[in-house]
C-alpha cells in the first residue's frame, strides 16, 4: 500500500470509467459453502459506475456472503469476480482495497477512541520521515473531503468518533470508503440503525457518491428506501439471483414476491 502518494480527495486519474456497458463490478457463478450450508449457489451480480445497485433478499439469501466475497474477506469456491471487465482473485481485504473496492460494514469498523481523521487514514497514514504521521495534513484532507461530500455533521475533527451520534459515525464510515474507493463502494445496511433524519442524510451522501462516478452497491431490507435510491435492484434468494429490475420497473409488492420466491431461480451459468 502506498501511504504517501495516494490522493485522498478529488478525482483519481486511475478512476477513468470503464467502457460503456462494462460493469464496474461483476460476479459470475459464485459458489460458497460453510460445511453443509450452501450459502452461494452460482450467484451472479453486476454493478455499474455512476449507479446505485441495491442488493435485496431475505435473511439467509446469501447477501452477506456475497459482499464478503467481493470485499476479499471470504474466498469463493467457484466463479469469477471482475472489476471493470478484468477477472480478479482476491486473497484478503487489502487486495480488494487495492483493486478500488471499499466496503462499509454494518458494525462500521471504526476505532471509537480515535478522531475522524485518524479513522479515515487508519492503516494508510500520511507519513513524514517514514515513521511519524502527519496529523495536520490528514485532518486537512479529511475536512476537505467531508466538505465536498456534504458531511457537515462532524463539528469537531479532534473529538473521538465515540462522541458522535450514530448517523455521524455512519457518515464518517461512508465518507472514509468514498475517499479511498476508486471504482466500487459496498455498504451493508447503511441505514439500519438510524433515525429518520439521519437516514435521509446518509441516503443523500450515497447519491452524492454515485454522482462522482462510483458504482455503489448497498444491501438493505428497507424496500421503500431501495425503490427510492436504487438505479438497479438485484434480488437474491437461496444463494442465487432470482430477479433484476431497473429503476421504475417494480413496486414493493413485486419486490416482495421476488424475495419470497414467486419467481424461479435464474438459470445457473
Amino acid at each position: 500500500m502506498n501511504e504517501t502518494a495516494v490522493t485522498a480527495t478529488g478525482p483519481d486519474p486511475s478512476a477513468t470509467p470503464p467502457p460503456a456497458g462494462v460493469p464496474a463490478l461483476a460476479v459470475r457463478g459464485l459458489t460458497k459453502s460453510y460445511g453443509h450450508v450452501r450459502a452461494l449457489r452460482g450467484v451472479s451480480f453486476e454493478a455499474y459506475a455512476g449507479e446505485v445497485t441495491a442488493l435485496v433478499g431475505d435473511n439467509g439469501a446469501g447477501k452477506s456472503t456475497l459482499i464478503k466475497c467481493v470485499a476479499g474477506v471470504v474466498q469463493p469456491e467457484e466463479g469469477t469476480v471482475e472489476v471493470n471487465g478484468a477477472p480478479v482473485t482476491m486473497t484478503d481485504p487489502q487486495h480488494a482495497t487495492q483493486l478500488g473496492i471499499e466496503t462499509v460494514y454494518q458494525d462500521l469498523a471504526l476505532a471509537p477512541d480515535l478522531d475522524a481523521a485518524a479513522n479515515v487514514f487508519l492503516g494508510r497514514e500520511v507519513r513524514r520521515i517514514r515513521f511519524l504521521h502527519n496529523q495536520p495534513e490528514m485532518r486537512r484532507r479529511t475536512a476537505h473531503s467531508f466538505q465536498e461530500l456534504g458531511v457537515g455533521m462532524v463539528q469537531d475533527l479532534r473529538a473521538p468518533v465515540a462522541a458522535f451520534s450514530g448517523g455521524q459515525r455512519q457518515s464518517v464510515a461512508i465518507a472514509r470508503a468514498a475517499m479511498w474507493a476508486k471504482h466500487v463502494i459496498v455498504m451493508d445496511e447503511p441505514t439500519a440503525a438510524l433515525g429518520v433524519i439521519q437516514t435521509l442524510k446518509v441516503l443523500e451522501l450515497i447519491l452524492k457518491i454515485r454522482d462522482r462516478g462510483l458504482a455503489v452497491v448497498f444491501v438493505s431490507h428497507n424496500l421503500p428506501q431501495v425503490l427510492e435510491v436504487a438505479d438497479r435492484i438485484e434480488v437474491m434468494r437461496l444463494g442465487a439471483r432470482v430477479a433484476r429490475f431497473r429503476r421504475g420497473e417494480v413496486d414493493v409488492e413485486r419486490l416482495i414476491a421476488a424475495i419470497s420466491g414467486a419467481y424461479t431461480n435464474e438459470v445457473q451459468v
Binding site: M1, L108, A109, A111, P112, G123, Q198
Partner: protein, 357 residues
C-alpha cells in the same frame, strides 16, 4: 464530552455545511476534560501541601532530585507498560523482566576476562570501561527481548489473555533467573558510572535516562504511526484488522517494547543497587500498572498518555516522601494511592459510559 454531544443534529443543513477543522471549544475546556490535567492538579496540590507543611525540607532541590532518582527506574518500566495497556493488554511479567535483565547483564559481564584474572563483574567502578557497560546493556536488552517475544507470541498469535500469558512468564522468568543464579545474588560495581555519572552537570544520569525514555515514549505514542496503530488496536482490534493493520504482529512488537523496557530497567537497577535483586522488584508490575492507570491511560485500551504515566509514577512517590517528612506514618501512602486509583478508573468508566449512548 458535552461540548461535542451538543452538535446540532436536526438543525444542521442536509448538505454543504462547513466542517470546523479547529476545535469549536476553547483550549481551556479541552484541558479540563483531560484526565491528565486532573491528575496533574492533584499532584501539584500534594506538592504544594507538603511544601507548606514542611518548608525548607520537602521543597528543596536535593529532595526533588532524590525523588526523581528514586522513581527513575519505575518511570522507564511504566513508559513501556503504557503501550501494553493502550492495546487493552497488561504486563504482569515486569519483575521477571527486570530480574532477568540484571542476571543477563552480570552473566554477560562474566564473559569478559580482565587482566590479572577475574572477570568484568569484579572490576571496581573506577576501572570500568564503556565496553563493559555496553556488553551488560546488551545482556539486559536481550533478556527483555526474549521475554517480550514470549509474551507477544502468547498474546498476539496464541490469543492467550494477557493477564494469564504474562502471569505465566512472570513465574517462568523468575524461575529462570533463580536457576541461572543458583538462587544467589551477584554483586558488581562495573556499572557504577551510570548512576553516579553526570552527563549534564547537576543531573544524575539516572534522571536523564528516565527523561529521555519519557520523551521518546511521547513521540512514539502520540506522533508515530506505531503509536497510532497501538491505540487503534486497543480501541477496536477488528477495525484495525480490517484496514490492513497486522494486529498479531503489532501486538508482538508492543510486548517486545514492554519486555525490553523491563530488561533495560534491570540494567539500571543493577547499576544503581550494584547487585542483582532476585527477591526484589516483585511488586514493580503492580506499581507500574498503578502509575499508568493513575495517569489516565484506560485499562480498556485506546486512550493513553505518557505524561499522565509520568505523573502517575510521581504521585505515590511524593506521598511517601512527604508523609515521612511531615511525620505521618508512610503506610498512609498505600491507603491513599489505593483509593485514588479506584477513583481514577471509576472516572474513566463514567467517561466511557457517558459517550456510549
Amino acid at each position: 464530552m458535552s461540548a461535542t454531544q451538543a452538535a446540532p443534529e436536526s438543525g444542521a443543513p442536509l448538505e454543504g455545511a462547513g466542517v470546523a477543522v479547529e476545535p469549536t471549544e476553547s483550549a481551556f475546556h479541552r484541558l479540563t476534560r483531560s484526565t491528565v490535567i486532573v491528575t496533574f492538579a492533584a499532584l501539584s496540590a500534594m506538592i504544594i501541601g507538603f511544601a507548606i507543611k514542611a518548608p525548607g525540607q520537602f521543597d528543596t532541590w536535593s529532595n526533588f532530585r532524590q525523588l526523581a532518582q528514586n522513581v527513575a527506574i519505575l518511570t522507564v518500566v511504566s513508559v513501556g507498560t503504557t503501550f501494553v495497556i493502550a492495546t487493552a493488554g497488561v504486563d504482569l511479567s515486569i519483575p521477571s523482566g527486570i530480574v532477568l535483565g540484571e542476571v543477563f547483564a552480570v552473566k554477560a559481564l562474566a564473559l569478559i576476562h580482565v587482566h590479572g584474572g577475574g572477570t568484568a563483574v569484579d572490576v571496581a567502578g573506577t576501572d570500568s570501561k564503556a565496553t563493559y557497560i555496553l556488553v551488560a546493556l546488551c545482556g539486559s536488552l536481550a533478556a527483555g527481548l526474549a521475554l517480550g517475544i514470549v509474551n507477544g507470541v502468547a498474546v498476539g498469535y496464541m490469543r492467550i489473555p494477557p493477564l494469564l500469558a504474562t502471569l505465566g512468564t512472570l513465574g517462568a522468568g523468575l524461575g529462570c533467573a533463580l536457576l541461572l543464579q543458583n538462587g544467589v545474588n551477584t554483586a558488581t560495581n562495573a556499572l557504577d558510572p551510570i548512576p553516579n555519572g553526570h552527563a549534564i552537570p547537576g543531573v544524575p544520569n539516572l534522571i536523564l535516562i528516565a527523561a529521555v525514555a519519557v520523551a521518546l515514549g511521547v513521540v512514539l505514542l502520540n506522533f508515530s504511526v506505531f503509536g497510532r496503530h497501538t491505540l487503534a488496536i486497543g480501541s477496536n482490534a477488528e477495525a484495525a484488522r480490517r484496514v490492513g493493520i497486522k494486529v498479531e504482529r503489532h501486538l508482538l512488537r508492543v510486548y517486545v517494547l514492554g519486555g525490553m523496557m523491563s530488561g533495560f530497567a534491570g540494567f539500571l537497577s543493577l547499576s544503581y543497587f550494584t547487585t542483582t535483586s532476585l527477591a526484589g522488584h516483585s511488586t514493580d508490575n503492580l506499581k507500574a500498572i498503578t502509575a499508568v492507570a493513575l495517569g489516565g491511560t484506560s485499562l480498556f485500551g485506546g486512550v493513553a498518555s505518557i505524561i499522565g504515566t509520568l505523573i502517575g509514577v510521581w504521585i505515590p512517590a511524593v506521598l511517601q516522601n512527604g508523609f515521612v517528612i511531615i511525620g505521618v506514618q508512610p503506610y498512609w501512602q498505600d491507603v491513599v494511592v489505593g483509593f485514588v486509583l479506584i477513583l481514577t478508573v471509576w472516572a474513566d468508566q463514567l467517561r466511557r459510559r457517558a459517550r456510549q449512548r
